[in-house]
Point group: C2
Chain length 335, copies 2
DNA sequence: GTGAAAGCGCTAACAG
DNA sequence: CTGTTAGCGCTTTCAC
């Protein structure tokens, strides 16, 4: 039963024959004699005592909880990121509270909750509308940082891959392999990731004197990407290379190609972005621009910790270069 | 800055010209006159006031936080489950605190944290050693329920698919298609899921008068499953059908087959378990026993809520039947 | 329907 | 090094 009375610091103090402050000190690293400490810990173990976080939070104004807002998790990039952020935060003694968002409709309640759960800080990895949530957090003096999707136009702290560079890098790869008819399957229109990747890509393509790539919106969904790919294949001037602005869509595009009898890596070059685990599976062998996830998370967490520690973060937006991983899906020259 | 003073109930009370008790009532659904309520909410909005969860928790002994322990998330089943649990809990006003575990080594700290974070309850979906954590929770009077991996030998609340039935169902499917040389790639040895699925499968196979399936341990990992599959293919009496006890390993097995020039759905039948999203992708078209995720989560959450509400849960372990989804990877008859 | 008052369990001065 | 004391912000009797 949940109603069984938990022991308090007083119970422990009594059993150990000390004051409750001594107990508190023992558990917070204050100065206690070794002997007292020993008695306290023994008593605590006996009573199965653990300091109540609720009371502690009330006093210290710290919950050791960080909120993480993400969109739905079928894009494998997010589970990977969640796992790594969780690990990194755990080292600092923090835990993640999950807020899975599904779109604009849920905006208000999410903000309300994010701010209501007495979190120490918030990481926003949730795509398009995150910027608005971020502003609310700033207003409410809640430490916040945007991850992956950022808002360059504001001073809101953010960490992302260098998406523009990533787009460029993929473009250059296509160009080197002799492609001339090139397309890109874009993501949700107002996400910074899609915009930047597409922009970098297009700039490099036209900079090389090639015609502007055909852009089709895949909306960051499996269905959208499949449709986009089919539309591309149906064109009289079908592209020989297509850049999907994330791997999630690239997998779907590959599937669409296969169904149409077009073989990626031979008949058409496909590249993605994120380099999620699946990209390396032999069934896909997807060329992908790898986000520097480790570095991104390291920066994200340490900046958030600094904010929580009271240091204002005026670093703004930070873009870290990644690395192109070339695999079979694009590793050939056009004739 | 994190240090900006947040408004308290007193501030709101003062601005609204009422007592702080009135403010509290307004926010907890107590009886307040409409007029007062209006003034209070107006004042709260103006001050950007939100009741502090920490203080509330201290008083009510409820945090509206539920812990979720899971192993690493590369098995796509878990992200799917997390997302759904998060949604279901959100309806009840609860949020998920994530504890990503990585094995026995981390057992103690995880327990300590799980119990230390003043959670209202805990969901254990974390595989093999979850049972020990569960017992600790029970001892500590922390409402707990095991999900997916359960412990039938104890009275610890648990919800899972009917894994035995699932294994049987897959076996029957193979048998109907005329397979005689059958193998299974198993998971971590002491996980109830792997044991039950394998057991149900083997029982049905030998019940049909066929020789016992060859068992190879894939350890629930991509690498393990690939090795297992390769070992299977190398045998003189290589199987014509293999059951992978989860989809995660099945994908890897499919990859291994393809690399060996053996085509799933034609040369060999492959089936998985979980029916994760990817299973339906054309690149895999994996036959899989679908876990009844919706029902499982519904039961899991409502039982946990009951426990949190103070009702002892003596339902024990609960297994819900799923459904076989037949796809190309196994949809053929042996000659 | 409303306010006053008493804590929830803890930490952090403060004095010894 | 140790105990006493005063709250953290809220909910909740209890009178009115």
């Amino acid at each position: 039963m949940a109603t069984l009375k938990q022991p308090t610091g007083i119970d422990v103090a009594r059993l150990a024959g000390v004051s409750k402050s001594a107990v508190s000190r023992a558990f917070t690293g204050g100065s206690v004699s070794d002997e007292a400490r020993q008695r306290i810990f023994d008593a605590a173990r006996e009573l199965r005592y653990r300091p109540s976080q609720a009371a502690r939070s009330l006093k210290t104004n710290r919950s050791r909880l960080v909120g993480l807002a993400v969109t739905h998790l079928d894009n494998q990039f997010y589970p990977e990121v969640i796992e790594r952020i969780s690990d990194t935060l755990a080292i600092e003694g923090y835990r993640l509270v999950l807020f899975i968002t599904r779109g604009e409709a849920e905006l208000e309640p999410v903000i309300y909750e994010l701010l209501g759960f007495s979190l120490d800080g918030v990481i926003l990895a949730s795509g398009a509308f995150a910027a608005r949530v971020a502003h609310e957090c700033v207003e409410a003096a809640m430490p916040v940082i945007m991850f992956n999707n950022i808002d360059k136009s504001s001073q809101i702290p953010g960490v992302s891959a260098d998406n523009t560079l990533g787009g460029e890098t993929v473009a250059r790869h296509f160009i080197e392999r002799g492609h001339k008819r090139i397309a890109v399957i874009t993501g949700v229109a107002d996400s910074s990731t899609s915009k930047d990747r597409t922009e970098g890509f297009c700039r490099a393509v036209s900079g090389a004197g090639l015609p502007m790539p055909t852009l089709v919106n895949g909306n960051y969904t499996v269905e959208g990407a499949a449709e986009a790919m089919n539309a591309l294949l149906a064109r009289p001037d079908a592209p020989t290379a297509v850049f999907c602005v994330n791997d999630h869509m690239a997998f779907s595009a590959i599937g669409a190609c296969q169904q149409a009898g077009v073989q990626p890596g031979r008949d058409i070059a496909i590249a993605g972005f994120d380099n999620v685990g699946i990209a390396g599976w032999p069934s896909f062998a997807l060329t992908s621009y790898a986000q520097p996830v480790t570095a991104m998370i390291e920066r994200c967490v340490s900046r958030l910790m600094a904010e929580i520690g009271g240091q204002a973060d005026d670093t703004g937006t930070e873009c870290i270069p990644g690395k192109l991983i070339i695999r079979q899906s694009s590793d050939f020259h056009v004739p």
